[in-house]
Every structure is written in structure tokens, then in C-alpha cells.
């Protein structure tokens, strides 16, 4: 069946699986950069090395992701992706991994730095929120989205090779737990579940997608205050602190190491360290996000 190609991080993607998260491709008539086909995928990747329990990489740089109840994803460096879904997997579940782990793999294959971050547009640039699961990345992005800011990325925030430091927008979808949705006075009714039976949902801001790369304006590292530290926002100044933080916030760094892209990742991180302010935002993760929105926006405005 004919389906329009989608736009993902600047790439033209043609997929046999519908990807309603993505904006449609409106660029030139180049052949697709990425193709997604349904097909058989062997559970063994010949010559593959285990990078993490569910991910193998072979010597040509192809990656195999296997999630027990979702399926297998073979990701070739050419951009050809084959998906063998588990019979019981829902389309949302397949897309969750295709637009998450698989997207991360594609970035590493192309030597681009993927940050584990949610990002939104503030003052014409992308502002990224990084932090462990549960620190409130998506929740902050949601609150900005409700104030009219476009969502640039959710889990995987892809940096262009630069310079300057720019973000390739992924799609305006946020993964949110029911509490976070309700705290924002929204309802989870009608939203797709992240996984079957889970109270985590996919929240789409359909009119709020971004097409073109955006300058990266700032990075906020979401942290819990330790040992009587005060809540607040503080800019990191020591270069090694910044690099260590950016390394810690890299999405699936093991894959980059396995593919030998350290040099490109190092250059991307030093570009950020030299040109983009990196802040620590210390607050208890369950603290109401409202009070931080103005402070963040004010800092970005400068």
C-alpha cells in the first residue's frame, strides 16, 4: 500500500509500519535514508558481539535488538531496518522500540551523538532536559508543551555533527506516567499505552512538530539535591565536569564504543562544552515542575 514517507531527524524514512508520530517528508525526492520492512530476522547475528543483554553488533556495524515480547529489529548501517514483530506485540510497542533503541542505534552507526533527553523549543532553539528515568525529563517537556512550546524530542535527542551545535528534531511525542498526565490536568483517556497493561502513555502534540535543525540553546541536567544541597539551577563550569555529564547522558554509549565512533562523539561533546551552557537543575524529582518553568525560560533568554 502506498504510504507517505516520514521525516525523522532530518532523514527521509519509508516504513511498512505506520509511524503517526512523524511529520511527513516534504523535502527533495532523494531515495529514503531509512527503510523499515517487516520480515524474518534470525535470533543470531553472525559474528555478533553482545553489547548489552538485548543488543548485538557485528563487525560490519549491523545491530540486532531483541525484546522478548516485542520482536527483533535488524538495523543495517545502510539504513535498511527489518522488523520481525512478536505475534502479540501491538503497533505502539513496535514503534516504541523503533523510535527509541533503534533510532539510537542508527545515530551511532552514523557517528551522531544521541543524548538521552527530552527537548523543547525556547527562544527559537532547542533546550534539552537530561537525567535518569524518573527525574522528570518528559514531565518538564509536557509543561512547556502546554505553554505552547514545540516538542523537539523525547527519549533520544540527536545532535547534528556541527558546528554549530544543532539538534535534529525527532518527533513531538512524550512518554508519560498517568500521574504526570493528571498532574498537568490532562487525561490519559484515549492515549496509547507505552506497553500492554502499563499506566504509561504516549502523549502526542500533533500540531507542534519541528522540521528543521535547531541551535542547541542549553542543556539542563535534572538532579536530586544531595546532602543538604539547596534546590536551584547552577551552571557547570569545569570542562571535565561538562564532558563527564555529557558522556553520562549519552544514549546507549556502549554502542558508540562498539562501533568505534568515540572520536566523533568526543568532538560533538567538546563542541557542546565550548558553545552551549550546561546547567544542573537540582530539585526533588516529584516536586511540582511549575515553579521551574519561568526560571528555565529566563535563563535561556539570558
Amino acid at each position: 500500500m502506498p504510504m507517505t514517507d516520514g521525516l525523522l531527524c532530518g532523514w527521509r524514512i519509508r516504513s511498512e509500519i505506520a509511524l503517526p508520530e512523524l511529520l511527513s517528508w516534504q523535502g527533495d525526492d532523494r531515495p529514503p535514508d531509512l527503510t523499515v520492512c517487516l520480515g524474518e530476522v534470525d535470533e543470531h547475528l553472525p559474528g555478533g558481539r553482545e553489547i548489552s543483554p538485548f543488543i548485538h553488533i557485528d563487525t560490519n556495524g549491523a545491530g540486532l535488538l531483541q525484546v522478548p515480547m516485542v520482536g527483533r529489529f535488524l538495523v543495517r548501517p545502510s539504513g535498511d531496518i527489518t522488523v520481525a514483530p512478536h505475534p502479540e506485540a501491538s503497533e505502539t510497542e513496535i514503534r516504541l522500540f523503533l523510535l527509541g533503541s533503534v533510532l539510537g542505534l542508527v545515530c551511532h552507526q552514523r557517528a551522531l551523538l544521541p543524548l538521552h533527553a527530552s527537548s523543547v523549543v525556547i527562544e527559537g532553539g532547542a533546550v534539552a532536559f537530561c537525567g535518569h528515568s524518573g527525574m522528570g525529563k518528559s514531565t518538564l517537556a509536557l509543561r512547556f508543551a502546554r505553554r505552547g512550546h514545540a516538542v523537539v524530542s523525547d527519549d533520544v535527542c540527536v545532535l547534528d555533527s556541527g558546528p554549530p551545535a544543532r539538534v535534529r528534531p525527532s518527533f513531538p511525542r512524550l512518554k508519560l506516567w498517568r500521574d504526570a498526565i493528571e498532574d498537568a490536568a490532562l487525561s490519559s483517556e484515549g492515549l496509547e499505552r507505552n506497553r500492554r497493561g502499563q499506566e504509561k502513555y504516549h502523549f502526542l502534540e500533533p500540531e507542534a512538530g519541528v522540521r528543521d535543525p535547531l541551535p542547541l540553546r542549553a542543556i539542563f541536567l535534572l538532579r536530586r539535591p544531595e546532602r543538604g544541597e539547596a534546590e536551584g539551577i547552577e551552571r557547570l563550569s569545569a570542562p571535565l565536569d561538562i564532558l563527564a555529564a555529557l558522556e553520562a547522558e549519552t544514549f546507549r554509549p556502549q554502542i558508540g564504543r562498539a562501533l568505534g565512533t568515540e572520536k566523533a562523539l568526543f568532538q560533538a561533546r567538546t563542541l557542546i562544552a565550548n558553545s552551549v551552557p550546561v546547567y544542573q537543575l537540582r530539585r526533588p524529582p516529584d516536586a511540582p515542575p511549575e515553579r521551574w518553568l519561568d526560571a528555565i525560560a529566563a535563563i535561556v533568554r539570558g
Binding site: P239, L240, L243, A244, E262, K263
Partner: protein, 93 residues
């Protein structure tokens, strides 16, 4: 190998390097470690690209940085010892 002014020193790996502000940052990919060098340390590091005797190194530094010879030597030796602990240089007799 004990370090002295007659030792010859040279970089061991070729770490990735970049300047961030005033700091020269090295990433030793093999060890997965970052190092930050200030201006003086960085000018020593630049001189270690090819094997060099420690006393030659000190002389060349003295030409660039006005300073007491004994002090320069002491600081160079201390810095080289640090680099060796971090597996960044080889010391030859």
C-alpha cells in the same frame, strides 16, 4: 623505569584532544578516562609528541617561561610522574 632528568619520555597513546576554554582536554579512549591540562601542563604535553630527554624538555620550557631552573625541573618531574601513573607516557632510561 625511575624518572630522572636524563630519562627520555614520550606519549604512550594518542588520546583525543580538544581545547575547552583555557583547558586542553584529553580523552584516553582505551582507558575511557578524561584529563584536563592547564596552559603550562598543555605546553609540556605538546612537547612529548616525540621522545625527548627531561633536561631538554626543561630547557625548552625555560626559554618560554621565565622561571627558576630548579623549580621548573621539580614541577616538570612531578607532572611527568602524574602522566606516568595515568599510563599516558613511557619513560625510557
Amino acid at each position: 623505569m625511575p624518572l630522572s632528568t636524563s630519562s627520555e619520555v614520550v606519549r604512550r597513546h594518542h588520546p583525543l584532544e580538544a581545547a575547552i576554554g583555557d583547558t586542553q582536554v584529553l580523552l584516553d579512549v582505551e582507558q575511557g578516562l578524561y584529563f584536563g591540562l592547564n596552559a603550562v601542563a598543555s605546553s609540556i604535553w605538546q612537547r612529548l609528541e616525540r621522545p625527548i630527554r627531561v633536561d631538554d624538555l626543561c630547557r625548552s620550557l625555560k626559554a618560554d617561561y621565565a622561571g627558576d631552573e630548579a623549580r621548573i625541573q621539580a614541577e616538570v618531574l612531578a607532572f611527568l610522574a602524574q602522566l606516568e601513573t595515568q599510563n599516558l607516557i613511557d619513560i625510557r632510561a
